[in-house]
């Protein structure tokens, strides 16, 4: 039953050429490019440690609150010390003496004035940091202002509605009733100065909160995601390399499956056995399962163990990444086996390789520093890379799950079509 599968595995393990492309070629690529890319992750200049003295030019409670929050945010940042200076003059004197990196003055309304030191690289870093702080704070203030205005408008609308309702009520009910805490809407809205009216205002505010549902915490404004800041080139390159290898390996190996069996004469002899053609074909295609798993694993492990490449943050996402790349490889193989069925006179691998390179070229790629636009973002190599980065960088599984589903469907369809075609062929 599993004779073909077993023989294919033994053949693969003992075939130097096959082993080279399955294990050594990806490993060598990892080492060559890993070494090369590692140097690209080295900084051009070391900017830390930096000491920045600040002074607060203003005494309002709001400004102090913002400054306290700012200092708190920077407490855990390595390599950057924020120290309060006694005065701007004192800070500038320290700056002139080269004792600190920069001095900043925090002014009212919230604004930051930066006094740069003599080290241009460090000055640019400080400038970038506090420009970012200022921009985010500006955005934050704009947002707060927007919601303040929104609340004010909603409150005004509710108050107007309450007054209108009160105006329509019989006068004796309004004057005769002893207002008591929120018993009825009418009572509550009878007058803004009554306890019932206060309770109603609070309810209206709650209602507005519930309707708008805004979280004003800082993390809601800046999503705490990995945007590549702590990512190395290898993290990106390992995935791009696996995608390239599964397409190369899948196309090349798959197309050669029947060609090799035909060339060795074993196909004809196998077809003369009582095994059904369907069973023979399925075994030939499934015999690539271990190889497709291995070529993904080899790159993932070598890049990770030797060059510290990081993939997803959880083992579940890493498993999903592996499954996605493996199933895509298997789908590629199953298509290539069909193509190889019809290429008898030439080496199918050599015929398909230029087409594969065109496909990879048109698909484009991207990584930490580079974006190469492809012909279409729906081409499989690009779509796979995109899904993989979505999963590893942002923990979003949707694209990966779609890729798994599409690849599995393509694999199943190709297997079915290939089996039908293989059964229809009259000569081995």
């Amino acid at each position: 039953m599993f004779s073909i599968f077993k023989a294919a595995q033994l053949d693969l393990l003992r075939d130097r050429f096959g082993l080279f492309f399955l294990i050594f070629f990806p490993t060598i690529l990892c080492f060559l490019l890993g070494t090369l890319l590692a140097s690209m992750d080295n900084p051009d200049a070391v900017i830390e440690p930096m000491t920045v003295e600040y002074v607060v030019e203003g005494d309002s409670a709001e400004t102090q609150t913002v400054v306290d929050a700012l200092i708190e945010q920077f407490e855990d940042v390595e390599g950057l010390d924020l120290v309060q200076a006694s005065s701007l003059d004192a800070a500038r004197a320290h700056l002139d003496a080269g004792e600190i990196t920069a001095a900043i003055a925090i002014e009212e309304p919230f604004a930051i004035r930066i006094y740069e030191g003599t080290d241009s690289v460090q000055s640019r870093a400080v400038g970038a940091i506090f420009t970012g702080v200022a921009r985010i704070t500006g955005s934050y203030q704009a947002l707060v202002g927007h919601y303040e205005q929104l609340y004010a408008e909603q409150y005004a609308e509710q108050a107007a509605a309450a007054q209108a309702a009160a105006a329509q009520m019989p006068q004796d009910e309004v004057s005769g009733g002893e207002a008591s805490g929120g018993e009825t809407v009418q009572d509550a809205t009878a007058g803004a100065n009554t306890p019932a009216a206060s309770a109603d205002q609070a309810a209206a505010a709650d209602s507005a909160d519930a309707a708008i549902d805004v979280d004003f915490s800082a993390t809601s404004l800046v999503a705490n995601k990995e945007f590549g800041i702590s990512r190395t080139m290898m993290d990106y390159y390992a995935i791009a390399m696996i995608v390239m290898i599964i397409f190369m390996g899948g196309f090349s190996g798959g197309a050669m499956t029947l060609y090799d069996a035909r060339r060795q004469g074993t196909l004809r002899r196998t077809l003369a056995s009582p095994q059904s053609r369907s069973s023979i074909y399925v075994q030939y295609v499934l015999s690539w399962v271990p190889a497709n798993m291995a070529q993904v694993l080899v790159v993932m492990l070598v890049a990770s163990l030797c060059f510290g490449a990081q993939y997803a943050m959880s083992w579940q996402d890493n498993l999903l990444l592996f499954v996605m790349l493996f199933v895509a490889g298997q789908a590629t193989t199953s298509i290539a086996v069909i193509i190889g069925m019809f290429i008898k006179r030439a080496n199918p691998s050599l015929v398909l390789m230029p087409l594969l390179w065109v496909l990879l070229f048109l698909s484009g790629t991207f990584n930490k520093d580079v974006f190469i636009a492809g012909f279409s973002q729906y081409l499989p190599p690009y779509a796979l890379q995109s899904a993989a980065f979505d999963l590893t960088l942002f923990g979003r599984q949707e694209a990966a799950l779609v890729a798994v589903a599409v690849s599995a469907a393509v694999f199943a369809l190709a297997l079915a079509v290939g089996t039908v075609l293989f059964n229809r062929k009259k000569v081995a």
Partner: protein, 324 residues
């Protein structure tokens, strides 16, 4: 369940196969008897391989009826496949697998498993004299060993019908002798064998009956004696030559071949003998002697011989067996 009524194991009736406009097999009819070695001869392109591919269930056919061990080939192909052992002309092996693994692979395809398969593999390797090479990779074996392993892969499941397509191509004399002995042993064990070869002496030596086909048609069938009796218009003159250095034997055979009534001239490998097939009416050897003297050939003797199977084949097909 066998549906046979006589001792015919394979019956081919009205077999026709077309490839486009080309009729590769044309209304072919023959039977192979149970337990015989049946020689299947024909020049290249005669339809021999097509016929064997059809019998091996590898190729569909347009018309005709084939029964093997009483089974209809069209309707009971799977049952027939279990009965057949195919030894193709090309070496059909996995070069990276050992002899044992190669035989085990093909035994597995025929449903043998576990200890039964191990035993079958060991017996097949023992049978072809490769028991000691069981762990050796096929790709590392000599041509002769590969040929023998090729046979082992075809017989490990103990088939009733063995199709041997040129099993001795490119092997040394020792391996050839081993293969010939093995084939006889298989026949003696009860297997029916269809055998093709380009070496006429092998066919004469081993086959119980022989069929000759040409252009997809049967042109002769029977025992060697029966086939020789068919051709009565050819005789052979064997010329023994003195050893001579620098003799252009090829030019001489060409000149002799142009003489009237001469059908074929064959020189042996060392140039010490010429075999000249001539029409039965040929009686005056003067033109032959003249050509030989002009070429400076020193002749030891002239002898008349009865036609052999090679002559018969030539007479029936107009081509030599080894011709393209």
């Amino acid at each position: 369940m066998s549906k046979q009524t006589d001792n015919s194991y394979v019956t081919v009736s009205g077999l026709t196969k077309r490839f486009g406009d080309l009729v590769a097999v044309d209304n072919l009819e023959f039977t192979v008897r149970t337990g015989e070695i049946f020689g299947f001869l024909g020049p290249n392109g005669a339809g021999k391989s097509t016929t064997l591919n059809i019998i091996s269930t590898l190729l569909d056919y347009d018309k005709g009826d084939i029964r093997i061990a009483g089974h209809d080939l069209r309707r009971e192909a799977r049952a027939i496949k279990s009965l057949i052992g195919l030894v193709p002309q090309e070496i059909a092996l996995f070069p990276t697998l050992t002899a044992q693994e190669n035989v085990s692979y093909f035994a597995g395809l025929y449903g043998l498993g576990g200890s039964q398969r191990k035993q079958a593999v060991a017996e097949a390797l023992e049978f072809v004299g490769l028991a000691e090479q069981a762990k050796k990779r096929a790709g590392k074996m000599s041509g002769g060993q590969q040929r023998r392993l090729n046979i082992a892969c075809g017989i490990s499941h103990d088939p009733q019908l063995i199709i041997l397509d040129e099993p001795t191509v490119g092997v040394d004399a020792q391996s050839r002798e081993h293969i010939m002995d093995s084939i006889r042993t298989l026949r003696d064990r009860g297997a029916t064998i269809i055998y093709t070869s380009h070496y006429m002496p092998e066919v004469q030596e081993i086959c119980d009956r022989i069929a000759i086909i040409d252009h997809g048609k049967l042109v002769g069938i029977g025992t060697e004696a029966e086939l020789l009796a068919v051709v009565t218009d050819v005789k052979s003159i064997v010329v023994e030559l003195e050893p001579q250095a620098g003799l252009a034997i090829e030019g001489i055979t060409d000149k002799l071949g142009l003489l009237p009534d001469v059908r074929r001239v064959i020189a042996d490998a060392d140039g010490s003998q010429l075999r000249i097939d001539v029409d039965l009416a040929f009686s005056d050897i003067t033109p032959l002697v003249k050509v030989l003297m002009e070429a400076g050939v020193r002749v030891r003797s002239f002898n008349n011989e009865a036609p052999d199977l090679e002559s018969t084949f030539l007479a029936l097909t107009g081509r030599e067996l080894r011709q393209g």
